[in-house]
């Protein structure tokens, strides 16, 4: 939380006069333009202005100074951060207890304990402030001492260890042999006349629509094709494939429609213009 409002107080002439009247004016107020880092920081600055050992600080006087400071800030209608006001309330209570000693309620700390706690916190805060300064006056890397300006690349000898074992070698060879069998180029021991899609197309178109309605695809296969396929005849296989391809092409062109009632079932076709019963 920022102490900016307090800085405004310190810099405002009218308020500064108030502060002077409250005998609060010290070098710290004028010099410290950074503002305070919270109420403890302000308290510490005020305590330091008392110019006594922090262990012998007058808590009452300190409370007065702080309260006067806060009052001045409020008179100047400056918004104080909540923590400054909380501290003010606490100090006001501490001061009244210190001035009018009465036995504290059983569940409350004594005024002495409260004062001691505050004094401890101020001293601890002071110690940290000084410790920070102590760090900053040390020689600093890059400001007071430097590393080697020409670091040398440490050579790395990279040795590649190739991982392979007999198993992977044999698997690779097995893979190779399998592929030779599976994906061997098409070998034709004797010239074979293969059917083509073009031939199948003209064949189908010639006889298409001679019979009305749905017809089996098989009707358009050259004679003996199915038997040939069963025997593994390459020519028959090509006829079957070519006819099927041609039929798909005709369907794509919207010349015929196709039908298959179940997977692997017979395929039927009929011309689009034709009428007929469903098979």
């Amino acid at each position: 939380m920022s102490a900016v409002p307090l800085r405004a107080v310190a810099e405002d002439d009218g308020v500064a006069d108030d502060l002077a009247a409250d005998s609060l004016r010290s070098d710290a107020f004028v010099v410290d333009v950074d503002g305070w880092e919270g109420p403890l920081d302000l308290l510490l600055t005020l305590a330091r202005a008392q110019k006594v050992d922090l262990r012998r600080i007058s808590i009452v006087a300190l409370a007065d100074q702080y309260l006067a400071y806060v009052a001045a800030a409020r008179r100047a209608s400056l918004e104080l951060a909540a923590e400054y006001l909380v501290m003010a309330a606490w100090l006001a209570e501490l001061k009244s207890r210190l001035l009018l000693p009465e036995p504290p309620a059983p569940d409350e700390p004594s005024s002495d304990a409260m004062a001691a706690a505050l004094a401890f916190q101020l001293r601890r805060m002071d110690a940290m402030r000084e410790a920070g300064k102590g760090l900053m006056v040390r020689p600093q890397f890059g400001r007071d001492f430097w590393a080697r300006g020409r670091p040398e690349a440490i050579p790395e000898r990279i040795s590649v260890v190739v991982k392979a074992d007999l198993g992977s070698l044999l698997q690779a060879y097995g893979r190779h042999l399998r592929r030779r069998r599976g994906e061997a180029p098409l070998a034709l021991s004797e010239p074979v006349k293969l059917d083509s899609i073009e031939a199948a197309l003209s064949r189908i178109l010639q006889s298409l629509g001679q019979a009305p309605g749905w017809e089996s695809l098989a009707r358009y296969l050259p004679e003996g094709t199915l038997a040939g396929v069963r025997e593994g005849s390459l020519a028959a296989c090509s006829s079957l494939a070519a006819t099927f391809g041609a039929v798909l092409e005709l369907a794509r062109q919207g010349i015929i429609v196709l039908r298959q009632n179940q997977p692997f079932g017979p395929i039927y076709l009929k011309p689009v213009s034709g009428e007929g019963e469903r098979p």
Binding site: Q121, R123, M125, M128, R129, G134, Q140
Partner: protein
């Protein structure tokens, strides 16, 4: 056995060269990677440190890292360009001191010690410098992260370990590093500063 290995000039030279080659600090285990097993690395380092102590270059330890740096007393004569760093704010310097002297410490504890909430960028700035890092958690409700300084912090300020922090023993003896709870006002609900009630209330607790 370590005796003759330690005295082996070849090993001293090797450690010296390794540290010289690198601009970054090397940990003992980095050195061990390239030394014969059984080499007494701490002894080798101590010997080098001693040999270089009077020289213009010094062997410096910062936490687990060792590196050669120029002797700090030569800074004015070296006439090197000083790296201009963004000046740390007073809040950041004090926060750094609190972390260094009280570590491990939670954000809430830092705020308690300083009596004020940490503003947004303070820890970030210190973290960005590489001087602090969160390490572990406090086993209290909310399991807050605890902060510690790094080897880079030690190196920057020329400290071998955090035990070399200035005045550490005096502060500890005076009880000023005790984790004593803050005065009640700074933590009205026994919690962090975040729970501070609205300003109006505590000022006139007796009011309507």
């Amino acid at each position: 056995m370590t005796r003759e290995l330690t005295e082996d000039p070849a090993l001293v030279r090797l450690v010296e060269a390794m540290l010289f080659a690198s601009a970054e600090p090397l940990a003992e285990r980095d050195l061990a990677d390239r030394l014969p097993p059984g080499a007494d690395i701490p002894a080798l380092l101590t010997r080098l440190e001693r040999e270089y102590a009077p020289r213009g270059v010094q062997l410096m330890r910062a936490g687990s890292g060792w590196s050669f740096v120029t002797a700090a007393d030569l800074a004015p004569m070296l006439g090197r360009e000083r790296r201009i760093e963004k000046k740390l704010s007073r809040a950041a310097i004090e926060t750094l001191a609190v972390i260094a002297y009280h570590q491990p410490v939670t954000r809430g504890e830092i705020e308690e010690i300083r009596g004020v909430q940490l503003s947004k960028g303070t820890l970030d700035a210190l973290f960005e410098y590489g001087w602090i890092e969160p390490r572990g958690r406090r086993e209290t409700p909310g399991r807050p992260a605890t902060w510690m300084t790094t080897d880079a912090f030690l190196r920057h300020f020329g400290l071998a370990t955090t035990r070399e922090l200035p005045n550490l023993d005096e502060l500890r003896a005076a009880g000023l590093l005790d984790a004593r709870p803050a005065i009640r006002v700074l933590q009205p609900d026994g919690g962090g500063a975040e729970e501070i009630p609205p300003a109006a209330e505590p000022l006139d607790p007796d009011g309507a």
